[in-house]
Symmetry: C2
Subunit: 418 residues, 2 copies
């Protein structure tokens, strides 16, 4: 099948999926989960073939992302069951008003329609995205990375057999048949079929989508997140938060990349920070964090002198750029220039500084005295996440089931004319 | 100034505008309105120059759109005052939850940032769009049609002097300096500055924006709207609604273009429809409606035989395509294939047919027993309208002040880490 044919099948079935009842969608999801578990061996064999094919061309971190195990397949099935247990956003009446002329206007939540998701090497995104799309009434068209193609195909095939086992059309979940660039471009430009495109992956993928997409697209992911330690910060809280935001999982988009420190506390705080992030971590057997300091911070704690580029880099690693600023206003100016508008935090006990910061910083999530690592669908109480939007149109921050829906107006009258 | 410089100025002032208080924005709006009235003569002179320049190259309908008068300038000023009186959406807390770990999550409404609006020959859009953008905390960058360039410049200059008179920066409202295609393309591709692009105008403009825009864009406007007269319709209601939807203002996007009639009532209804839309209107001195009938309708009432293209045409004129269908299911299938998903209506006294129709039709506004002409910001109670979205991302149907905003999460903690 060609990508065009896959898209035609997706479009053909979208009205049927939009009208499925919650129980029917949940039955489909549970059948998909059961089929994944039942076909674990087939999936693992496909995954081994993927791993053999990449051979030594891929580093260990990437290989670990690609690798599946019995436990990981179980976790994928469990993930689908958790989506089944979430409330169904479709059909919810968002608002209802009666106009002076008697018209009754209801704003009702509806699926987007056909949602395309372009992702990279994690095969588990295949089941994750399929489940979220289906629960929110959307037909998905998936396009995974070429390294994981065999794994993704095996996962999709299993889930489709699950759908068939409960009498549901297999075309509720779809994958494009090739992993060439042309296939991705076809998704990005299918304006008569794709209602929403979500790229999930590195900065290169995201910017290719933003550049080339003619279909509505969500800019996701890239996070150059800041933590600003204010003059009125509780320095112990600041240490805990900076360490957590930087080092608890440096490869994710909500990890901190830049620490700004108020000049008023820099002489006290920076030596504490250096000890906590390097010596203490080293002593505890944890990877120490490399500090890249601007001239002023370097003058206080030495280390490595930062380049300008270090303040515009998503390190995704145990590296932190450090800069001394005059006050909250300079912190705000720096963040507005360098942030990707994902997540930024202030550490302060001064309510006025906090107020200034939260009003001025225009990011999806703005924190006072908490770690940027909380920007996550689960932590926000959405129950799941298809991605984190860093644009302002449609949805911002973690996108759950509700963010995969649109609305329509349903208007009841008794003959009103204008 | 170049378009690039205009964009840079807009970006530079957006944080200041985002933080303005409601009273400050209202004071700015009232000053803009007063300045428009004070400079009516200058604006009318510029408008005369525009009209002279187009000469006989423009038809009368278009010339009427372009023409200003003292009354029209007053109406523009009054429009700005009405926007000032509307509630300010910015800063509104949409939701607030406390998470089990004590984090307090607020979802707060914020401006989009820089909003670009590309429009055609109506100079009044200049004041209308500027007022809506400013009230919703957005810096606007306007790009009007070349035929109205002098008028739009005069309107903008007056409004900017109004801003200056109350100490506000003129760069809160901006216009690109040229009306070439290159200027429009620069707006469409300014991904580091433009947070939202709204095209207002004909199908050509809209599709150029959807094709070329790399910035987030709203597809607006085009309306191939249907009214389906069901077997269980009250035929008098149906006549009133079809006439109103078609003929009360045929040049607008919420006007009906296609009437579908259930086979069960076609023999009775179509002769009534023909009389109402042609003979009665002619007798009353109103423009009669040309009926373009499919073969079956033609067999009943004659008239003009429709081509296939007539069911995919936004006539924007006193022309109605008419087709006989078997039942509500065939009506739904036809609409899903031919609708632009703007506004579609069913006329029926059968709640089941109404339920089927409203559930299945995936348009911004779906009506039961009312005219499609109600799809309008004012009629929906939004108080105003920047355009009508026919896409599903972000906003659907009439877009008012709230639809010109995004949200951000503001999270307060006391040291939480993950």
């Amino acid at each position: 099948m060609t990508t065009k044919e896959v898209l035609a099948e997706a479009k053909a079935v979208k009205h049927r999926l939009a009208l499925l009842k919650t129980e029917e969608k949940n039955r489909a999801l549970l059948a998909m989960a059961a089929a994944l578990e039942a076909e674990t061996d087939v999936i693992l064999a496909a995954n081994r073939a993927d791993l053999d094919a990449v051979g030594s061309s891929m580093n260990d971190v990437m290989k670990d992302r690609l690798r599946l195990s019995k436990e990981r397949v179980c976790a994928m099935a469990q993930g689908i069951r958790e989506v089944a247990a979430l409330p169904d956003p479709v059909g919810k009446v968002i608002s209802r008003v009666t106009r002076p002329n008697g018209l009754i206007l209801e704003k009702v939540r509806v699926p987007m329609g056909v949602v395309a998701i372009i992702y990279e090497s994690r095969p588990n995104v295949t089941s994750d995205a399929a489940a979220l799309a289906l629960k929110s009434g959307n037909v998905c068209v998936l396009r995974g990375g070429k390294e994981a193609f065999r794994s993704s195909c095996a996962i999709l095939a299993a889930m489709r057999r699950g759908l068939a086992s409960v009498g549901m059309p297999e075309t509720l979940i779809n994958m494009v048949p090739d992993t060439t660039r042309a296939g991705a471009t076809e998704l990005m430009t299918a304006t008569d079929t794709v209602d929403l495109l979500i790229p999930r992956g590195g900065a290169g993928l995201i910017s290719a989508c933003v550049e080339q997409a003619k279909v509505p697209c969500i800019r996701t992911g890239t996070g150059i997140c800041h933590v600003y330690v204010d003059a009125a910060a509780d320095l112990e809280k600041a240490l805990n938060i900076v360490e957590n935001a930087k080092a608890s999982r440096p490869s994710v988009c909500n990890a901190e990349e830049v620490c700004l420190v108020s000049r008023a506390v820099a002489e006290r705080f920076l030596p504490m920070l250096r000890r906590r992030l390097t010596d203490d971590r080293f002593a505890a057997g944890k990877p120490p964090v490399e500090l890249r300091c601007d001239a002023e911070a370097y003058g206080i704690i030495g280390g490595i002198l930062a380049t300008e580029a270090d303040f515009d880099t998503e390190f995704l690693n145990y590296i932190l750029a450090v800069k001394v600023v005059e006050d909250v206003s300079e912190a705000i100016r720096h963040i507005e220039q360098h942030s990707t508008h994902h997540s930024d935090a202030i550490i302060t006990e001064d309510p006025q500084a906090a107020q200034l910061f939260t009003a001025a910083i225009d990011s999806a999530a703005v924190y006072v005295n908490a770690s940027t690592r909380f920007t996550d669908g689960g932590e926000f109480g959405l129950g799941c996440e298809i991605g984190i939007s860093t644009q302002k149109l449609h949805a911002r921050g973690p996108m759950g089931l509700e963010e995969l829906t649109a609305y329509k107006y349903v208007i009841h009258g008794n003959g009103q004319i204008r």
